[in-house]
Amino acid sequence: MENYVYIALFAPLAGSLFAALFSQRPKALVTGVVTSTLLFISFVASVILLNHVHHEGAVHVTLMDWISAGDMSIPFGFNIDQVTAVMMTVVTLVSTVVHVYSNGYMDHDKSFNRFFSYLSAFVFSMMVLVMSDNFLGLFIGWEGVGVCSWLLIGFWYHKADVTRDVNPSISPSWAANEAFIMNRIADLGMLVGIFLIYWNIGSLQYADVFAAVPSMNHGMLVTIGIFLFIGAMGKSAQFPLHTWLADAMEGPTPVSALIHAATMVTAGVYLVIRANPLYSAIPEVSYFIAVLGTFVAIFAASMALVNRDLKRIIAYSTLSQLGYMFAAAGLGAYWVALFHLAAHAFFKALLFLGAGNVMHAMDDELDIFKMGGLKKAMRWTYLYMGLASLALAGIWPLAGFFSKDTILEAAFNEHTYGIWLVLWFTAGLTAFYSFRQVFLTFAGDERYKPLGFHPHEVQKYVLWALSPLAILAVIFGWFKEPFMEFVTQFLPAYEMSEHTEHNVVILTVVTTAIALGGIIFAWMRYYKGLKRDEKVEQSLPYRILLNQYYIPILYERVFSKPYAALSKVFWEDVDQQVVDATVDGIASVIQESGDSSRKIQTGNLSDYLKLMSGGALVLVALVLFAAMQN
């Protein structure tokens, strides 16, 4: 089994390095084919491992000793348990689809090879993140995906900066930096958490750490839990570190699908699930996580309601669904969170890739107000996105229904009716904005025609590549029971109380009702075509939502601008006036003393003799003086 572990882990790295060899060359189809093939191999190995873990239990391998200094010993070890196996399979599956899809999507891009190199490097980092058996390995993967995310968001770095009115994300490189810096803030928290763990437990191995949790001081556990969660908040774009995710849509769409929907942003959820013994021991932090997740769910969904940008709507939807996952994890229903994570990965990747098809057809136009009626030209994409949106909205029998419904049940089961109510309402919002987007894009009048677009369906093999995601988005929910049995071998089981069992039918009906209500409302409003209501668009709530609650502007005013001003002060007043002046002063003192003492070196022996005599005189005088002292 060890070999499968290494194949699953290192195949993406091999692909990345192979593609990197061609990075400076013009497009070579071979890079796309090779990386996709290697990813597929990695996927197959992951599935084999999943099967093995299912039957035989967890696999643990140690690649090599990594750091051993004094008492500190951190091996490069990998532990494939149920959670990791699920994550690996999800990551490699979505990655494989995205790789194949990118062959078509990036067809005309001049940096085709570079793109595949980054993409495979990302998958490798993500695999390290989920496979590591210790916190430090997780952190390495965590940083690795951060770097790859930065590289890929800023993939079209050559685009110039524009104002916020033209493009809310300003430019790809701006968005990339924003994402990276926000993650850096969060990663500091995570690093502090890891330090605290090492300081208190003396090991970073998951097994040792979680074994030590019951005997630890509660206050310290809370501190560690909070700091680790800060890391998770950054990576999973939870409030208040959420702004980067929407801006990250500046990257190529396959990147948005893979990194900013299906895999990387779920790393925070993965961390909470992974550290479940820790979070189980600190219910107050868990409750906070649940509340924050719930808040982010409705907060993001509300922003998605009014947005006109195809990808941003999906990005907010991702944010909202991450909120659901955190809510589930915070309520202790870890397997439910993982289940929703996997289901969400499938339908959200599908949704994004479908959006990529639309973008491709519309020459990178993202404004859904300028689309409409695309279903004629793009039948298959319409089907895929419709399916994905149904799954997202939580309509039976698609994947989202099972996972989201279970989260709501868990919220009900915990008697946190507030959370339940908010999540329930958010389910309606989710259905509404998903179908608002689908209908505005594919149904109604063909608003693109006057604008001179000629949409066309994408290549056949791209559509075929999407089919696994579509199938999984439909059927994944049917495997809820086997999935639960499988992951609860490792994760704590979550039992619904009898009270909840009684109400399951009612809950299901109520949830489905609001989801259907949202869809129907969207259908009524948008199916026939876009009817813009000036009064609504000018209203204050609409503008607040459209401007993301003015949070990016607030951040800019409160953090960026004062920071820039402070930096300027430090640059001009401290660095230039004090530091540079000191250094220059030392240099000029030395130069001037050298310049004046240079005159001693006349090259005339006579002058040297004079100096020597002067020295002799001083010495003799010193001797005399010393003698007189005695």
Binding site: K610, S613, A616, L617, V620, L624, A627
Partner: protein, 184 residues
């Protein structure tokens, strides 16, 4: 008598050496140097170091001064030497300072009482005999080293001075000299 001789010699030596140092004429300087050295040998005789006095006369006044005299022939020094002095006061300040400190030092009662002679003169022997006894027994090795040094110096002197002996600079025309200067 000895007191008178000492002061006479002291005044004469100081005067002659001052001439050596201050004179513009090489010949004067060298002659006064030689005379000063002769008088120093006189002081040696007063001090009872007969052999040293003789050596002083032979080596310094005889050999060294002869070498200087020969060397002079290489350099065109019949004219007065012209020396530029930027800061004459500095020279005398340095010299005077050193002289003053040394005089202050030596004027102090510095003579130790408990100094034991390492090699006292052998009773009954004359100075040259006593010197020979010490030099060829206790200082034999330094003596041999000194003789080797002198041999080396002799060969070095011959080699250095003998190089390109066929070129006579003093016989050259003035206008050729700048050429040789540029080769420097």
């Amino acid at each position: 008598m000895i007191t008178f001789a000492f002061y006479l010699f002291a005044v004469l030596i100081t005067g002659l050496f001052l001439v050596t140092v201050m004179s513009k004429n090489v010949l004067y300087a060298m002659t006064s140097l030689a005379a000063g050295m002769v008088l120093i040998s006189g002081l040696f005789f007063i001090l009872g170091a007969d052999f040293l006095g003789v050596v002083q006369l032979i080596v310094y006044v005889g050999a060294v001064m002869a070498v200087y005299a020969f060397a002079m022939m290489f350099f065109d020094l019949s004219r007065d030497v012209e020396e530029r002095h930027d800061k004459p006061w500095l020279i005398f300040l340095l010299g005077g300072g050193i002289a003053l400190t040394l005089v202050v030092m030596f004027a102090a009662p510095i003579m130790g009482e408990a100094v034991h002679a390492l090699y006292p003169p052998v009773a009954g022997a004359t100075n040259p005999q006593a010197v020979g006894l010490v030099l060829f027994t206790k200082y034999l090795l330094p003596f041999e080293v000194a003789s080797v040094m002198l041999l080396v110096a002799m060969i070095a002197g011959i080699i250095l001075a003998g190089k390109k002996m066929e070129i006579s600079l003093s016989a050259m025309d003035e206008d050729i000299l700048p050429d040789t200067k540029e080769n420097a």
